[in-house]
Symmetry: C2
Subunit: 643 residues, 2 copies
């Protein structure tokens, strides 16, 4: 394999050295890859004109434009980036069908305003939300038999190291867990099977990589980076409790899991443990770090763990020094070139691919060989590398078509490269006639994540590829200094990739998954009995007072609330509970109280409540904010607060 | 005109009576128009299958599908409904290019988190935001010479009676004003010229209609609806101060303005001043209420006004009793049938159209005749009505094509009806051979607002019609109980309307405007000098302490912040100011502080600041949340808080 022992002697050195200096040059030149002036040598696709779209649009076997009334054939679950929510798209149209609030309040549904959602989000002692910003990156869904099973999706918040679970029956967030002992929780991936019990052929764990290293516990403001550490975390898919953590050398970034449940991995871009960027990129090779899940859980069971600070979570030792003997090791560090970004599992269940970011290479690691290493059958973990081939400048993430091809984003080249895994392995083994690069397509511009339909399942179908381009520049009408990003849809059903459509999006989608619509069966109406505080009969409506603690209970049925008015006294602490007794699909009501900062919705058969202080005497027209009926404007009730 | 004096004897009685009872039936049946069981007689388009889309898609001269890289030809400014923001669309693609936060915090940009945005939004004494929910309905932009001039747009918040102004150079909100003395601020429209000074041929006022009636001042919890009042409000377009208000009989709803600046109007659906819905719909006719702007401003100047409570805003008397003499009247009440919803100005500047909602009629009011009324030349204000014709069930809003045709949404029929104004006037005058209905098209389902390209300007071009359908039902992949709404795009360039596309949207767009892209010239990079707190040179970075009040000042230039770390002491009250010195278009940085609930962005050459308490000792990796560079992941700074 190239560059392993002595990277100075490997192929591709010129390009790698070049990127290294280019990346540094970027520091003085501003965004290297996005300046028209400095970019000519480094990022020709970005600095020149885009290729004429017409040349790319002929001959597609897939189309993205649906006729009115036609349904999409795929769901897309998209990270909302620093909007802090999850987006749900229909594909191939690219239409955003809904957004699911989780980490950040949402004024439309009342997320972060109702008592029920505040309980999920978490509050401080004063009742206010603990956090109201977030930075979501990666969305992944629960598996069964190597395909999505439509139960759950998970999403990370990098700012506050939280993981949220989305129920895919109702498309709502039902649990949020804050990870202890870590900062910069970034990569996330559910397991696909249990490493030990073959009957558990579905997701029961979610793995979380933390990017930033900190003192343990993080209670002293130490500036000595040598005392900082990163942890890899396992969360229980059902309870959402943190099961265990692994102390490691270096940091975590993205995360991947094997189909057999035995392995999880994270790529590491800062094995140097630097605290300044030039230190983070000083080594020529970093790593893809593998975790032996069964052994870790045995160690936890055997009590071989520590805890840090107030956290009760068991932390096992996955550092290099503690894991020198492969036969008992919890971890294996496989080296990959310079500051890798991205680790992805191929749908044939054989390989993990790491892309080099500051190296122009993709590294193919064979999972059977990693297991051999853990069995003591491999001289070194690096022997699990079966290919390391040049792909282009700034390779980041990889998707798959189920026909043996990989698709990798090239950030600096502003391209997607399609390459064949078998050919790459042959080339790496010495067959220099093996042409592993199959196709390249320019994208607009600077792509980060990409994903193909069903790519991260055993049912990868090779139809559509979505590419999250970080810069849109001139691709949409100008809307001021904050540009949208550009999500492009590419037809990968043929030999040549064909660009189908540009879709603008507010920053910053990062990662996403695309799967067949048949895999989900969402429910359209809630079950009244699922809400313990439901007002099941309009006759149960009323104002119930205990001192200044007041319960207002009412129902909604278009076009009226069950209480036509209700009276309060100034200073009352009011909990208002509203049940929507309408049963018809799509018949949602809203409830706003002017000047009291209250608005929320109740979907058919849903119950929600809010608590507030009636601190201002006067008349307040509470009204339905969600269009429901010809008499929607007239659907009101008066809150009368007496002095 | 039909039904004016004695509605029982007019034409269309059968249908009107029918709708009245149907609307009441809806109260027990749930959403009348959206139940498959009850809807057969009332809303056939909603209860039956949609017409085959293919039948509608042939022969369109306009297309909605752009090739990759093609730019839209129109901007759309869309209300975000109870998401509380403004959406910016490109048309005909229907792509959402950005969302502009105004009334509600936005975690992506840090709106409601930065000191600069909090100042615009308004805070309580404790520094927290006064409001974090909103319900936006109507977006309208500033005019010059009867067309949009690209300076400003305005949008309302119905929940808290706020009006926000959006600068259309940078696409940001720069001012928010809370209206005094009113509740349920709904309709909004800028004037198009000064009523007196012909040199002022551009917008200087914005008119605001308030829907809910309340005691004046609203400081006593009176339940006696007879003491409640609504006001019509004028806001200064530049200062955003409230200039004056008008006390009226009945309520306000939507708002329209004349091209000559002399008249504004609001439709009134509750002239009964009822507090329960059956009272609000008891009268057979309500009104379109006209305001004589010049006379109102003369009255204010002459000191003929009151004030209420703490408000200093002059309030003139526009009630019927005080305005019986047309020659001096400030207001004119023109009657229109039952609970009208919508008032729209035709692009030929001649007419306002009111739709009946609970009457199947559209009423055409000639503005020259309203001016005649104010001049004492018309026997009664109702004589200004030049047509009142049946359109279909549940007519709401009207758009125009600049070729003499109007397009009105029929909520209950789930249709758009195209009708000719001249033919309607002839029919109303007695020519029963005049066929005023030109075309009808089914929409999916229950349309509220609609608008055509350039419809509300003198440059109406009759190309595209967007229709905001309140229910989407089966038109998109299911996403749980909360359905998207359906914004449909219709080609109106030919004789027959042609449905082009369905676009899902989270509730609830309400109103929108569509105009040619040439009318806007947004700026892509800020001016450093526009920010008084800018850190103009990285050398000016640092930590500046006065006791426990600490200023942290730094700059960003990809891929680094000017401070590589900064030290604080536990308990410090920190104001952190960040200037983005990158000058390249689209090169935005973010700044997040883990566990401190801080994230915001700085666009090229922008400065923003946040204030927080460093209450937890430890190391906090502040990082760039907005993708900027190949070394974006490495773009960090350490906040070290010493115990």
């Amino acid at each position: 394999m190239n560059d392993k022992k002595n990277p100075e002697n490997g192929t591709g050195l010129g390009r790698r050295r070049f990127i290294n200096s280019a990346a540094l040059a970027g520091m003085s030149l501003g965004a290297l890859a996005c300046t028209d002036k400095s970019g000519t040598a480094v990022a020709p696709a970005a600095s020149g004109a885009a290729p004429a779209p017409a040349a790319h649009t002929g001959g597609a076997s897939n189309a993205s434009h649906l006729k009115p009334g036609e349904l999409d054939t795929y769901y897309g679950l998209w990270s909302g980036g620093h909007t802090g929510d999850m987006r749900v798209l229909g594909l191939p149209s690219g239409r955003e069908i809904t957004r699911i609030p989780c980490f950040v309040p949402d004024a439309l549904v009342g997320w972060g305003h109702t008592n029920e959602s505040k309980k999920v989000m978490g509050t401080r002692a004063d009742g206010n939300l603990k956090f109201s910003v977030a930075d979501t990156h990666h969305v992944h869904a629960s598996y069964k038999d190597g395909n999505y099973d439509g139960r759950y999706a998970w999403i990370n918040d990098k700012i506050n190291s939280r993981i949220a679970r989305i129920r895919l029956d109702y498309f709502v967030c039902d649990k949020i867990t804050e990870l202890p002992n870590v900062q910069g929780f970034h990569g996330i991936f559910p397991d696909k099977a249990d490493p030990v019990d073959p009957k558990i052929n579905y997701t029961t764990r979610v793995f979380c990589g933390a990017e930033f290293s900190i003192p343990l516990p993080n209670t002293v403001g130490s500036d000595d980076g040598k005392t900082y550490h990163s942890l890899f975390t396992c969360v229980d898919a059902e309870s959402m409790d943190v099961r265990w953590q692994v102390l490691i050398d270096g940091n975590c970034d993205l995360t991947a899991t094997s189909y057999d449940g035995k392995l999880a991995a994270t790529n590491q871009y800062n094995t140097e443990m630097g605290v300044h960027y030039e230190d983070m990129m000083s080594a020529e090779r970093d790593a893809c770090l593998f975790f032996n899940i069964a052994r870790i859980e045995e160690a936890v069971k055997a009590g071989k763990f520590k805890t840090y600070g107030d956290s009760k979570v068991p932390v096992v030792d996955g550092t290099r020094d503690a894991n020198k003997d492969a036969k008992t090791a919890l971890t294996a560090y496989v080296s990959v070139p310079k500051n890798p970004h991205g680790v992805n599992a191929s749908p044939d269940a054989k390989y993990f691919i790491c892309a080099g970011k500051l190296s122009p290479t993709g590294t193919v690691i064979e999972l059977a060989k990693v297991l051999d290493y853990f069995d003591g059958k491999l001289e070194s973990a690096d022997k699990a590398i079966v290919a390391e081939v040049e792909l282009g400048l700034g390779p980041l993430h990889t998707a798959f078509d189920g026909r043996g091809n990989a698709y990798t984003t090239l950030f600096l080249d502003s391209q997607v490269v399609k390459w064949n895994l078998d050919a790459a392995i042959k080339f790496h083994a010495g067959d220099k006639s093996a042409k592993y690069v199959v196709d390249r397509i320019d994208v607009q511009y600077q792509p980060g994540h990409l994903n193909a339909s069903q790519s991260e399942t055993r049912a990868a179908d090779g139809k559509y590829l979505a590419v999250g381009c970080k810069f849109s520049k001139d691709r949409f009408l100008p809307v001021g200094p904050l540009h949208p990003e550009n999500e492009q849809l590419i037809d990968i059903s043929g030999d040549k990739m064909v660009l189908l459509a540009d879709h603008p999006v507010r920053g910053e989608p990062h990662d996403f998954i695309i799967f067949k619509r048949e895999l989900l069966s969402p429910k359209q109406v809630y079950n009244l009995d699922d809400f313990p505080n439901a007002v099941k009969d309009p006759k149960d409506s009323g104002v119930f007072r205990k001192g200044n603690k007041v319960e207002v209970r009412m129902t909604s049925q278009a076009p009226a609330f069950s209480l036509r008015e209700f009276k309060l006294k100034k200073g009352d602490i009011v909990t208002l509970t509203l049940t929507n007794l309408d049963k018809i699909e799509d018949l949602t009501h809203g409830f706003a109280i002017p000047k009291h900062n209250i608005n929320f919705i109740v979907n058919p058969q849903e119950t929600a409540s809010v608590t507030f202080v009636a601190d201002k005497p006067g008349v307040y027209w509470c009204y339905c904010t969600h269009f429901c009926h010809a008499l929607h404007l007239e659907m009101r009730t008066r809150m009368i607060v007496e002095a």
